[in-house]
Symmetry: C2
């Protein structure tokens, strides 16, 4: 009985007690020191098995839930993982996010989502605000960003994994696939099926979209079709409606086009529907292929040939890699290529 606490039922006048069950409460219940409780609950260092059990029992009995704020303040590291993606309107990123978040939440991390709208200044602002929360880890989309944003990341010392593209510098980490190679492969698929006047039609024009375009050009060049390279690049955001517009534009500017590679499935889906509306025969007059295998592509008329990209796997693996880094473990494969797959359907 602590004699110094004459009446513990009566809160002191200056009390700011929150009514929470704290580590100290658990310690008292278990008859050990608070530090031991802290260690037992985190599984840190060796705590005698018997004590461990007593602590667990006490924590459960009291319904103890650790306070993340106190933990963050004391350890200078929060349980947050900040995730930066360009846009929520692209199903691709939503699926990536969903996979990331699922893994991270299981391991007790909270996901903080930052949407950059493909804007370097916005990315920088979001990054600055997130870093103030001292996240335990960081996931960012792609490799290209402003020098200031890159410096913020590097200077923070927060473990960071890049997704969707593959980096190569030592000391950096990435999980993705070669956008360029995927663009090359789907173009090659069109060439293999006899198409010659292949166009590349893209919107948004983010780095990955441009890399796919490079792959397209490489395939054309390798096939001796450098002269037939046709690119229609629109800076507007990608959408089904825009896909229809760009199909019409392509066919009016270059009526002999016999295949179109759209940089994203939403454009291709819109193009397929526009073709139906306009009476353009797909794939007879023009083959159409997309990228990403988004929901609905298999339902189109005809079903859309596309590149299946492993964003769910990317999310899961990136989460695993980041968790290893946050635990201070070494990552044997810092740049993880998860590949892609050509999904041949009836539109090509």
């Amino acid at each position: 009985m602590p004699a110094s606490k004459p009446n513990s039922d009566e809160p002191s006048r200056r009390s700011r007690a929150t009514g929470r069950v704290t580590l100290a409460d658990v310690a008292r219940e278990a008859g050990v020191s608070p530090i031991t409780v802290s260690r037992a609950l985190r599984g840190e260092r060796a705590v005698a098995a018997e004590l461990c059990e007593r602590v667990q029992a006490a924590a459960t009995a009291l319904g103890y839930v650790p306070d993340p704020a106190a933990r963050a303040l004391a350890s200078a590291r929060s349980s947050h993982v900040a995730v930066l993606i360009p846009k929520l309107s692209n199903t691709l990123f939503v699926e990536l996010l969903d996979a990331l978040q699922r893994q991270l939440m299981l391991a007790g991390y909270q996901t903080l989502i930052g949407v950059t709208h493909y804007d370097p200044a916005e990315e920088e602002a979001v990054l600055r605000s997130f870093l103030a929360h001292r996240p335990a880890g960081l996931i960012v989309t792609g490799l290209d960003r402003s020098p200031a944003a890159a410096a913020l990341i590097h200077g923070s010392g927060v473990p960071c994994v890049h997704v969707m593209e593959l980096a190569s510098e030592p000391g950096s980490y990435s999980v993705g696939f070669s956008q360029r190679e995927a663009g090359r492969a789907i173009t090659q698929h069109l060439l293999d099926s006899g198409r010659r006047r292949v166009a590349y039609v893209a919107a948004q024009l983010d780095p990955r979209t441009l890399q796919r375009g490079e792959g397209y050009e490489a395939a054309m060049q390798q096939a001796g079709l450098a002269g037939s390279v046709r690119k229609l690049l629109s800076p507007e955001p990608s959408s089904m409606a825009l896909g229809g517009v760009l199909l019409e534009q392509t066919l009016s500017e270059a009526p002999d086009t016999d295949a179109i590679f759209f940089c994203n499935d939403d454009l291709a889906q819109g193009a397929l529907l526009a073709a139906l509306r306009l009476g353009v025969a797909v794939p007879e007059r023009v083959a159409v292929v997309g990228f990403n295998n988004l929901p609905g592509s298999d339902q189109m008329l005809p079903p859309l040939t596309t590149v299946a990209t492993p964003r769910v796997e990317i999310g899961a693996q990136a989460a695993q890699m980041l968790m290893a880094l946050m635990r201070g473990q070494a990552v044997e494969q810092p740049h993880l290529d998860l590949g892609f797959q050509i999904l041949k359907r009836a539109s090509s």
Copy 2:
């Protein structure tokens, strides 16, 4: 000069300093006390204008960024707002989330996203984990939840706004529209255009989907068509592919069906594409309408008649309402009906 700090350049051996610029640094720079800096920066209480400026200048000069963890620990309230949504695969919720997050971030709140997968147990678990973070506010989808989840929310004392549906109990807050009334209105639209054998086809079967079905039944009953009520309810998750399957099933079970009201646009889009594939004339043989006006519905063949739902406005208004509650302000309209709109297109 504090004589008790003989050599402030040399960190003590027990130092845990993080290298951060702290309130105390700003206070020293501005020549005021830390409390004054705290108040000036938060705009709390009246701080002399001149001091305020000095503090601001010092903070800017030093690049001071408040530590959210310290703030949360001291004030027992974080800058997080937890948002609970059923699924990320429904574009509806992604758009809602985007709108919410945009507003909240502008006001300095961080959004914590919890996906419940329409599972009460999962909702409860997510809630429990989020509440440990002492969020400043809470946004939850719909009104139905387990008693335990409801008790968690209520017991936490955290301000909470319900979205997508309209509550009525005093002391609760909601922003949405009447799902039932919207279901009734779109059914009435079909009846008004001469359809009689109208079916309601739904998936997922969450509360809002069932409410739309009630509206459908009410309209049928009022038209004296209670005997013609046809409901096809699938517990599977909603998708375009399922929409095609359910269309076929409806037409094979009740070939004289002259209109179908799908509970969500993805189902209706899939049905429209299946109809095209099967040679079912829409709207001649069967009219098709959807719900939510999702991306792509205007691109269908024929374009899909649907109910436009104001999720972006709901997100924005819910954020505003929650921010008022978090500031302790009174909300004059605790249940905000944002309505809906019938979007008549060619599929009906």
